[in-house]
């Protein structure tokens, strides 16, 4: 009798558990898992959003690999990533080092450095457009104090990408600062004490203790940053609409345009699939590296 009761209680618990996870699981299967297969399927068709799709085999893939717009915006996107990421890492590590201190009021400074991270991307893009304005922008005024002629930050094809990159670095350093700060606080103080007894100065301590021990944090920061910069869309759309002369057309902008301006959804799906594979490989790489780190500990 008791056994039967215990059995039904257990069965009831399993049922309840499934009910608890069902909404989230079903929703994510429908809106996040199924779309992968739909996207793969679409990438082999000429779907235009209205008429029923026709199977076209590898045509979309052959098209995109043979067209320079795809390669150029891929290249541009990676250029953007390589411009943003190293500077972001150096600055955010520097910030983490100086805010890693128990001075009164440090919370205020951490908050001030973190504030751009939480500000909506559209808002920061518009603020920087005003700062960069060629006629009345404050930045050109500062430059004029040093007798530098007005710069067309966002209007000149050779400047636009760099100008967006500066904004992006400013917006992103707070996030990585927090990650580095957690990394720094995980390093035992004993190591530094032992090192200073041995006569190692701060500089040596930084390169011999801090940097090697932060290695897993660096790997994490780099992969996450690559993944997010590869998907860059909003700031380019708002600040430059991908121009001037396509100079800020990242792969995110190109996919959006193909799918929703030109309604070439099959072709756009093929592009998004290529981007998706690159990003998923990077995520897996990140996961494996972290796993390896865990095993070593």
């Amino acid at each position: 009798m008791r056994k039967i009761m215990k059995f039904t209680v257990k069965k009831k618990m399993v049922l309840t558990a499934y009910l608890f996870i069902l909404p989230v699981l079903a929703f994510n299967l429908l809106f996040r898992v199924a779309p992968i297969f739909m996207s793969l399927n679409l990438s082999f068709t000429d779907y235009d959003g209205f008429t029923s799709p026709n199977f076209v085999g590898f045509e979309n893939y052959l098209n995109l690999f043979s067209q320079s717009e795809f390669w150029q915006s891929m290249l541009r996107t990676f250029q953007f990533a390589f411009e943003v990421i190293p500077l972001n890492m150096i600055i955010s590590l520097f910030l983490a080092l100086i805010v890693n201190d128990k001075i009164k009021g440090m919370g205020f400074f951490r908050a001030a450095f973190y504030l751009p991270v939480i500000t909506p991307m559209v808002a920061v893009s518009i603020i920087w457009m005003w700062i960069y304005d060629p006629q009345a922008g404050i930045l050109n005024y500062f430059l004029s104090l040093f007798s530098i002629p007005p710069v067309r930050f966002l209007q000149d094809p050779s400047n636009a990408m760099h100008s967006v990159a500066i904004m992006r670095i400013w917006r992103g350093v707070g996030w990585n600062m927090i990650i580095y700060l957690a990394g720094l606080q995980g390093i035992s103080q004993n190591l530094y004490e032992a090192a200073s007894i041995d006569g190692a100065n701060k500089f040596r301590q930084f390169f011999k203790i801090t940097m090697p021990l932060l290695k897993p944090v660096h790997v994490y920061v780099v992969t996450v940053a690559i993944i997010s910069t590869l998907q860059t869309f909003t700031e380019m759309y708002v600040m430059t609409s991908g121009g001037p002369l396509e100079s800020t057309t990242t792969i995110g902008v190109l996919i959006y345009r193909a799918a929703f301006d030109y309604m070439k959804m099959g072709y756009a799906s093929a592009m998004s699939f290529v981007l998706g594979i690159i990003i998923m490989l990077l995520s897996l790489f990140n996961l494996l590296i972290n796993k390896k780190g865990d095993d070593m500990n």
């Binding site: 996040r32 910030l95 603020i127 005003w130 400013w170 998907q231």
Partner: protein
């Protein structure tokens, strides 16, 4: 003495960096309060000399602006409510209940976090557009616009967040097993244990989840851009983009509108700072 000097130096350095980092915000605020004569004067004044609220009333009175603002608030609040209910339920089940295929289900969910938004964008658009029996669609999802231009469509990328489930699971895993065992021996049902014991305990994690969802939804631009064509369904981020075109060289109202769009997240940030850094760290530690 030497330590004091070091701290003073450090605070000066920190203040300079803080000034640089917050300059864009200060400049936005000052610009939004200056009359046009000052806004475009050369050399520019740093602080506004004659403060005016004209740009703010211009922004608010621009047709649609308040509607955009309310739309954003609505979409964010719906997403927060849905996530609070369903992510906490799932997070609790994964943390504290035993059932077959538990790990498999969790791994499937976690791996969806790796899928970049571009891959799912077009299919999700199609799913939303051909959602059956709404927006003039028949049962097969043909004929109408489905959930395009609707709140239900706008919340889709933000509700049932896997990251939310993850936050809740992490939080609920830390309590000792005895806590549930005691209630089970008393004959309480699983639903009851969850509601009367664990839901109240979950407050810190629920706040983090609410804040994370709110800011993510508030910040979203790409998804509303794709699924709304009706002006009355636009969110504030999209509205600002329209504003930008409308006031192409009229920076006063544009800065005022931008400032207003930051206020809700700013208020949350001031009162709940630690939840933001918590989100950054949870996503880092795994």
């Amino acid at each position: 003495m030497r330590r004091r000097k070091r701290i003073a130096m450090k605070i000066i350095l920190l203040s300079i960096i803080a000034l640089i980092m917050s300059f864009p915000f200060l400049w936005m605020t000052f610009s939004s309060l200056k009359p046009n004569s000052e806004l475009f004067s050369i050399p520019p004044s740093v602080f506004p000399e004659n403060i005016t609220s004209q740009h703010y009333s211009d922004a608010i009175n621009t047709p649609g602006f308040m509607r955009y603002f309310l739309n954003s608030i609505t979409v964010a609040l719906i997403s927060v409510s849905v996530n609070l209910v369903f992510c906490s339920l799932a997070g609790y089940a994964f943390a504290r209940m035993q059932f077959p295929f538990k790990n498999l289900c969790f791994i499937i969910l976690l791996s969806t976090m790796m899928i970049p938004v571009q891959v799912t964008l077009i299919p999700t658009f199609i799913l939303v557009k051909s959602f059956p029996l709404v927006g003039g669609n028949d049962i097969f999802g043909n004929g109408g616009t489905g959930l395009l231009n609707s709140y239900a469509g706008l919340v889709i990328p933000h509700i049932m967040s896997v990251f939310g489930v993850f936050i809740m699971r992490q939080f609920y895993s830390q309590f000792p097993k005895e806590l549930s065992e005691a209630a089970r021996i008393d004959g309480a049902s699983e639903v009851r244990i969850f509601i009367s014991v664990f839901l109240p305990l979950g407050k810190p994690a629920l706040s983090t989840l609410a804040i994370f969802t709110f800011t993510q939804t508030w910040d979203d631009f790409l998804w509303p851009l794709i699924i709304t064509s009706d002006n009355s369904m636009r969110t504030l981020q999209l509205g600002l983009e329209v504003f930008k075109t409308r006031y192409s060289a009229d920076w006063g109202p544009l800065m005022a509108g931008t400032a207003i769009s930051i206020v809700p997240v700013l208020i949350i940030f001031i009162f709940a700072q630690k939840h933001f850094t918590q989100t950054a760290l949870t996503s880092g530690i795994k």
